[in-house]
Symmetry: C2
Subunit: 190 residues, 2 copies
DNA sequence: AATTGACCATTTTGTTCATTTAGTCACATC
DNA sequence: GATGTGACTAAATGAACAAAATGGTCAATT
């Protein structure tokens, strides 16, 4: 029973955060949705912020799993990174929770949400960085600063997947893969 | 006399926009600073917004001039684009007006300022795009979509110059040049 | 021991109203 | 009579206050 209660609360909170955002979700609301007294929430979570934090932590795990699933050992480093990055951003683009929270950061700038989204970004960055380091060890790519490379790769993907659309027709997955290969691997020099 | 009056107004407005931002600058203030009656401002500019627009238009010219000055025919395309982009962002980073207005977009989101800053971005993009097209014609670089390439180059520079600093030690001009060359020209493949 | 909801301190929201502001225009100045 | 002006107006803003809502606690309940 008690094990389930925590899950009920997390599910209710996830639903409400996804639908209304963090700020507009009240603890009373979550308690009602979870069929739980308000006090019970505070036996599992020290604050509203910690509740959000725990939810995002499991989103991070989900995202990593999703990325792992699209990668494969018999593919090139380039193909794997492309697939992983695309999958990660696809996840962010499709899941109500991340959409809503990203929106909230843009529109209201709720500090708690800002922090937690920063954590998500850092986790993604660390994940890519790890892949880059492994590829360098194996000699699959030229030597480079893994931190900066991961940072730039993510920026480039975000630019191609999210920002390009703001002023142009969206790019297909294949186009993005081509562009990624062209700029990051082949380079523009003849 | 009349010729000077317009310049006086523009200078006063530029000073005030730089110091307090667009929203916090009143027309009365500008009139006082310019030693001019309020009505006079409206004989030269149809609205406060148009005053801002005219100021930004000349900033665009200034930026282009600044970029032209650092480029030179006996340098490679890569070196020239690097110099131009770095100079442009340096300009944005140093000039009070652009700093303040960019801040205002982030913090308040004043629509008039948002629009005018978008215009500035589009001008920069068009400028880089033109350079890329010329380089392709001359056969200095591989064929590619000039629009997307300009977009990505600018994003990459903004990421390196402004965003990297948010969580790391700033990169030197030389480091940025190296990174730019590594990713955009040579590529990571061995 | 686990759960709860009434309760409290603090924030947030809604409302009112005085002040400020962008923009106009009748008048002053040369 | 062309140019320049600041008092004026309608609309926007924000200060001040009251009312409602919210996160978190804890004594009572099961």
């Amino acid at each position: 029973m008690s094990v389930n209660r925590k899950q009920q609360i997390i599910e209710a909170a996830t639903k409400s955060f996804s639908l209304f955002g963090y700020k507009a979700t009240t603890i009373d609301q979550v308690a009602k949705l979870a069929n739980v007294g308000k006090g019970t929430i505070y036996t599992f979570f020290k604050s509203k912020e910690e509740l959000l934090d725990e939810i995002i932590s499991s989103v991070i795990v989900e995202i990593k799993t999703a990325a792992e699933q699209v990668m494969s050992d018999d593919q090139s480093f380039f193909e794997n990174v492309h697939r992983a990055l695309y999958r990660i951003l696809e996840f962010r683009k499709q899941h109500q929770l991340t959409i809503k929270l990203l929106q909230e950061v843009r529109d209201i700038g709720t500090p708690a949400v800002q922090e937690v989204m920063g954590k998500l970004d850092r986790a993604i960055l660390a994940y890519i960085r790890d892949k880059i380091e492994k590829a360098m060890e194996k000699g699959e790519i030229r030597h480079c600063d893994a931190e900066i490379t991961a940072f730039l790769m993510l920026k480039m993907y975000i630019a191609l997947v999210f920002e390009w659309e703001k002023s142009h027709a969206p790019l297909s997955k294949e186009q993005i893969a081509e562009l990624f290969e062209l700029y990051f691997f082949k380079g523009l020099s003849k």
